[in-house]
Amino acid sequence: MSVAAEVLDYECVDTEQVPPALRDSALQGASSGPAMLAYFAAGILLGVLFVRSEVASWFRIQEMFRFQSLHMYGIIGSAVVVAGLSLVIIRRLGVRTLHGEPIELTPKQWGAGQVRGARYWMGGSVFGLGWALIGACPGPMFALIGSGLGVMAAGLLAAMAGTWSYGVVQRYLPH
């Protein structure tokens, strides 16, 4: 296997957003019981928000792609603004993780392929086709399964099949 393929293989696995030398210790510290409880609680909050703001609804996704309401744009836009301001504050104040590591964001890489950013616009477009069909991105899929839309479990299995297939053909795709 080529070096490029080796590098690709491990890209996009969750990486701790701390200086590279501290990633292993960050991973240890961030896997403690209290930290896991915090992730679980954050997930519950997000699931509730996905359902009650109706982001998880196929109807809202259609409304968004038809530009017929501010609702979805307001949610994504205000989430980006609040997250962005938080990152500015984290950087300015030098906020560290609870475990003590400095927070250092890993930049997204333009791929090494011949077409610049191929993976982002090609992969992004494929994702968009699916998003408008099933009317849910991965987070809302989880929330919908919890809320009792059982058939979404079949959609999640199909999404796993898509991820698995990507892993098989990855080396043939432009990145």
Binding site: G47, R52, L87, G128, G155
Partner: protein, 198 residues
């Protein structure tokens, strides 16, 4: 109070709270908000021999992704909690009049629940349209998210918040694909398959 909570939570409440998940995960464990990685972790966790998996799926998923799977499990529980306490939101009544009119002109008759029952039921999975929407749609979401290196959470929220140009390109792609399905495929396909008695 109950009726206030069971209606649509406004964007200016839900959006900022979703945005706060980003610094929360960073501060608790240096984690980046991105949900679609879980699809990869779940594939890596499938108990088949390594030789049956592409190298993309051979890694220590529990160590690397355990936290994110706990987070995703929380989302499932949150979805259950939100529905068990406040009921299924009446989204069809809450969306804009224009969307309701468009959808009914395409032949979608049921506007109750999270998604049209014509498209999302175990029975409809046996029809070409149900297969396309749920199975092909799900497949493309899983394939495209990994190809693009992220989904709505990883690119549209985490990436844009960090001013990452590749994420902006990915988000443009999300919309290109979504607009294509909504404005080119659905107007032809939905009336034909829903109204034509196929």
């Amino acid at each position: 109070m109950h009726s206030l909570l069971s209606g649509t939570w406004p964007w200016y409440v839900a959006g900022p709270l979703i945005g706060l998940i980003v610094p929360l995960l960073l501060v608790v464990g240096g984690k980046v908000f991105g949900i679609s990685s879980n699809l990869r972790h779940m594939c890596a966790a499938v108990p088949v021999p390594d030789s049956a998996k592409p190298s993309f799926l051979r890694y220590d998923w529990l160590r690397v992704g355990g936290w994110n799977m706990v987070f995703a499990l929380g989302i499932v529980v949150g979805g259950w909690l939100a529905t068990a306490t406040l009921g299924v939101p009446d989204v069809g009544a809450n969306i804009s009049e224009a969307t309701r009119a468009d959808l009914s002109s395409l032949g979608i008759t049921s506007l109750s629940g999270y998604a049209p029952a014509d498209l999302f039921s175990w029975q409809s999975l046996g029809s070409p349209l149900g297969l396309l929407i749920v199975i092909v749609g799900g497949f493309l979401v899983g394939f495209g998210a990994r190809w693009a290196g992220g989904c709505t959470s990883g690119h549209a929220i985490s990436g844009l918040a960090a001013l990452q140009a590749p994420s902006l390109v990915a988000v443009v792609g999300f919309f290109a694909g979504g607009l294509l399905i909504t404005h080119l495929l659905y107007p032809v396909l939905l009336p034909a398959l829903l109204g034509g008695g196929l």
